[in-house]
């Protein structure tokens, strides 16, 4: 795991906001801008997707990203690749060390399967993604939601092929930064999952900071 500290100063940022747990966030990032996602209180999974802002049919692709770097985990230096095989953003700084892209988003239906059939009324990332789609006035729909990134989430795979959801390796104040190589729509669900340790059983806010 590689730790790369940012050289950017928060006082020169052009945008900043806090996203509460259980809320979606849709933001347009211009080419060349850098986004920092700051884990304010620690161990908070941030479910994230990227779309080409000029043509949202081009989107983040977990499988193309994994194939292109020959590695399952995302970290400093990772190029986030689209379903067109193009680099959308590059991770330029990371004080956490490892981020997941196999675990996807929680949903009412997958919570039923994973935990209990009566868990369906619990809030989920998929509901937040769909709310953001509804608010996008047709720009994004359910069809546009592929496997997402889980920033700050730790999902190690063993040599035997076992996949597990471990306690987070993130902590209060850790962050990940990425620079856009094209205009991108950033779609985030700040994860409300209460059934596993991905949010340390206590979902908390994260801060979004943007630099030109």
């Amino acid at each position: 795991m590689t730790i790369v500290v940012s050289t950017l100063d928060a006082t020169s940022a052009v945008f900043s906001c806090d996203v509460l747990a259980g809320e979606p966030w849709l933001y347009r990032l211009a080419a060349g801008q850098t986004l920092r996602i700051l884990d304010l209180e620690g161990n908070q999974a941030v479910d994230t997707l990227f779309f080409n802002a000029d043509d949202p049919s081009e989107r983040y692709s977990a499988q193309d990203t994994i194939r292109a770097q020959g590695n399952l985990y995302l970290g400093a230096g990772t190029a986030l690749v689209s379903n067109e095989g193009r680099v959308m953003l590059t991770i330029t700084a990371d004080t956490c060390g490892r981020h997941d892209t196999l675990g996807g988003a929680c949903a009412a239906e997958s919570n039923q399967v994973r935990y209990a059939l009566d868990k369906w009324p619990m809030h989920s990332c998929r509901d937040s993604f769909l709310l953001a789609c509804a608010r996008s006035h047709g720009l994004l729909t359910k069809r546009d939601l592929p496997a997402n990134i889980n920033f700050f989430m730790n999902v190690p795979v063993t040599a035997e092929g076992r996949l597990s959801f471990e306690d987070g390796i993130s902590d209060a104040g850790k962050y990940v930064e990425m620079q856009a190589a094209m205009p991108v729509l950033v779609l985030v669900s700040n994860c409300p999952q209460l059934n596993n340790p991905c949010n340390a059983y206590s979902p908390t806010p994260v801060r979004m900071i943007v630099w030109d």
């Binding site: 049919s57 977990a62 499988q63 590695n71 379903n83 239906e109 997958s110 994973r114 059939l117 592929p146």
Partner: protein, 250 residues
């Protein structure tokens, strides 16, 4: 109008899908899709959709996390995004099928194997998994938004402690077979282009034989249903769906 189902084990259709071709079938509930790597070293990329509502589709993440696995083999279920089981893996002599490497594309294939166009090579020309799946999806009114993370049957990329992937050559022996049983009516879209991490420099895509076989619905003692508590709940969700929508009198 409901026809009497065939005897369990009856093969109702056989096709040989040559290397680097695309194919699809609507697999009815309780029917099986038996894939055979005839020569060894094949790759079969596959995607799965609810035959009646293509918006419900195979979900790589939900499938892997529900079963705490990074690969697929006998006893595993392939989940849709709606918490239901599209197909389960009822038999497998290969042991590991890749779930996260995706498919190759035109520029990757050209860089690895060289250019080979139809104009010169006719039907031996080079094809790639992405374009092949898009063509086959197009036949069903689908396209790029529907092209999600696929399964690569007969292929393995091993994972080391750093997360680095190592393609395992000669992973699938000649005659390797995997059998999928539809737990709901499922559109299966597949192609037989080489795996995107296969380092071979020679273009030699392998054929896959496809048998459609009547297997009957999963029993209460079914190995996939009982393989983990999560899969029991997945089967329960799928049964609920059939109570609401099944007009075939199951």
């Amino acid at each position: 109008m409901t026809a009497t189902p065939p005897t369990v084990g009856t093969i109702v259709r056989q096709e040989l899908v040559p290397g680097a071709r695309h194919w699809s079938v609507e697999l009815r509930r309780a029917y099986g899709l038996r894939l055979t790597d005839v020569e060894g070293g094949a790759n079969c990329a596959a995607l799965f959709y609810n035959a009646h509502q293509h918006l419900e589709r195979y979900n790589m993440a939900d499938t892997l996390k529900a079963q705490h696995t990074a690969y697929l083999t006998r006893g595993h279920c392939l989940y849709s995004d709606m918490g239901r089981i599209l197909v389960s893996i009822t038999a497998d002599s290969c042991g590991w099928h890749d779930a996260f490497c995706g498919v190759g594309n035109a520029s990757l294939v050209a860089a690895q194997y060289g250019e080979s166009h139809y104009q010169q090579a006719r039907n031996a020309c080079h094809r790639n998994g992405r374009d092949s799946l898009l063509v086959e999806l197009g036949k069903w009114g689908m396209g790029l938004p529907d092209l999600v993370a696929n399964v690569n049957f007969f292929s393995k990329a091993a994972v080391d402690t750093t997360g680095a992937l190592h393609f395992v050559a000669a992973h699938s022996a000649p005659g390797s077979q995997v059998e999928l049983r539809a737990e709901m009516d499922t559109l299966v879209v597949l192609d037989t282009c080489p795996h995107p991490l296969d380092p071979a420099s020679r273009w030699q895509p392998k054929p896959v034989q496809v048998d459609i076989v009547y297997l009957g619905a999963a029993g209460e003692d079914d190995q996939c249903r009982l393989s983990r508590a999560e899969n029991g709940r997945g089967f329960a969700n799928t049964a609920r769906y059939h109570c609401q929508h099944d007009h075939a009198g199951h």
